[in-house]
């Protein structure tokens, strides 16, 4: 009975004129803000280029995009389709502008929803998600700003030649951590793909300089193997 009343209340709120106006304005503001942020982010490298007397090498950027950017294009489509229903309108605009979705915004919004006990698609969810994501974004901005200010006196230490091996190995450090995280999810596929790619790099060493492009065949092989395994699993379930 109580649930029925709550649903009726949510339906009334959803259809109220004030809420509809709020949502329309949220979309308008969200679109304008997103476009402005996009323009700022894409123009920032050119602004920096003016200061450094350099312009971006567009053919090189296009080549790198074909290698690694495509992976993130697919990833962004999946994130968009999966997370927008959880975040509502206002939360989605803010989350896609401020990033760090999986490691912060989504768990934060879900935590907020659990605290208040709201359901997806309701006006309460729209309000709570927006409040949660806006707050967490502001906290991140503040923490980073304070941290960066505190880092300024440390610049000479960070730039010392002794520490350069550390900064020259940022990428291997990242992939080691990621390998540990992802390989455990499917050891068989991971081993096959790793062996195949290692063999390729050993036999054709010139490919080592184009590792980002080699992500395409490596990813394709992993997806094909995953699909075969998925189909096998489905057939097993069907029997």
């Amino acid at each position: 009975m109580e649930n029925k009343e709550m649903l009726q209340n949510a339906e009334e709120l959803k259809n109220s004129e004030a809420y509809r106006k709020y949502l329309n304005m949220t979309h308008r503001l969200g679109r304008i803000s997103t476009v402005l942020v996009l323009i700022l982010l894409l123009s920032a490298p050119y602004m920096i280029g003016l200061f450094l007397h350099a312009v971006p090498n567009l053919p090189a950027a296009a080549k790198a995009f074909l290698g690694v950017g495509i992976v993130y294009l697919v990833s962004c489509v999946a994130e968009y389709l999966i997370y927008v229903p959880m975040l509502g309108a206002g939360g989605s605009y803010l989350a896609f502008i401020t990033g760090n979705l999986i490691n912060m915004k989504i768990p934060c919004a879900i935590n907020a929803r659990d605290i208040v006990g709201v359901k997806s698609g309701t006006p309460e969810n729209e309000i709570i998600s927006t409040l949660s994501i806006a707050t967490s974004s502001l906290v991140t901005i503040a923490v980073l700003a304070v941290g960066v200010l505190l880092m300024i006196p440390l610049q000479p230490v960070l730039q010392s030649p002794e520490l350069q091996p550390a900064f020259e190995n940022v990428v291997p450090a990242l992939f080691g951590a990621m390998a540990c995280k992802y390989y455990r999810q499917d050891m068989k596929i991971s081993l096959i793909v790793l062996c195949a790619m290692t063999l390729l790099f050993i036999l054709v060493p010139s490919l080592i300089g184009s590792t980002s492009m080699m992500v395409i065949p490596s990813g394709a092989l992993a997806i094909i193997l995953a699909y075969l395994s998925f189909r096998k699993g489905q057939k097993g379930e069907g029997k």
Partner: protein, 262 residues
Amino acid sequence: MELLSLLNSPVLYLICGGIIFFVAVICLVFAVRAYRMGKALGIDTAKMKRVITASATFAVLPSVGILLGVIALSGSLGTPWPWLRLSVIGALHYETQVAEAASEAVGIGRLSISNMTPEAFVTIALLMSFCIMWGMIFVTIHGKAYTKKLSGQTEKKPGTDSGKKKKKLNLKGFGDTAMTAMFIGLVSAYIASYIGTIISGNGRFTFSGSWLPLATAAVSAIAMEVFLRIKKTGHADWVDSFSVAGSMLLAMTAAVFLGKLL
């Protein structure tokens, strides 16, 4: 080193800080509007305040983890640019991979300040901005229609799922698997390149390439394993906020010492 000083100059702080400030204003505007609308809809203000407090405290630990990411990237890209990228839109794993791919494409080899040129930096910066903007584009073009459609779907009565919908859910199951597989492929390409470097980096089967990238990756993997075990045995979910950045920083520290040994 001179370029690193330029990348840490006040002009870059001003450009990056200005954009971050603009994003902070957007967040503030959305928060104030949501709070006012919540009040108008009759949502308990105590509940909304609880959400604000909980979200603020929830965000502190991951934010410190993100700050560690800024430190990790500051040695190769200066501080202001990673500060902007990780405050707005980005994530540490994404930024590092794209920066590495752009370094290769622009012809400076691996991501490193010793090889960096102004042209390489602005190309890397452009690519970092470009590659991850799709979520923003989709939500701008299709967000309104999508959220409206979803809002309509919630009104459907339960128990009306058709066979077609069930089939879609099955495919969604593969979507998650495919995403994991894609990341396995991405990680494998790089790890394999480190092994390939050792064996054939200076010519096929010469076994004279650098061990340092593979050793660094191994230390990072071990550190990540330790973090995951702490999380599992200690039921410490907060470890997730630090696991990637923490593993990276430990491995980078190890690289300083391993560099002298190997």
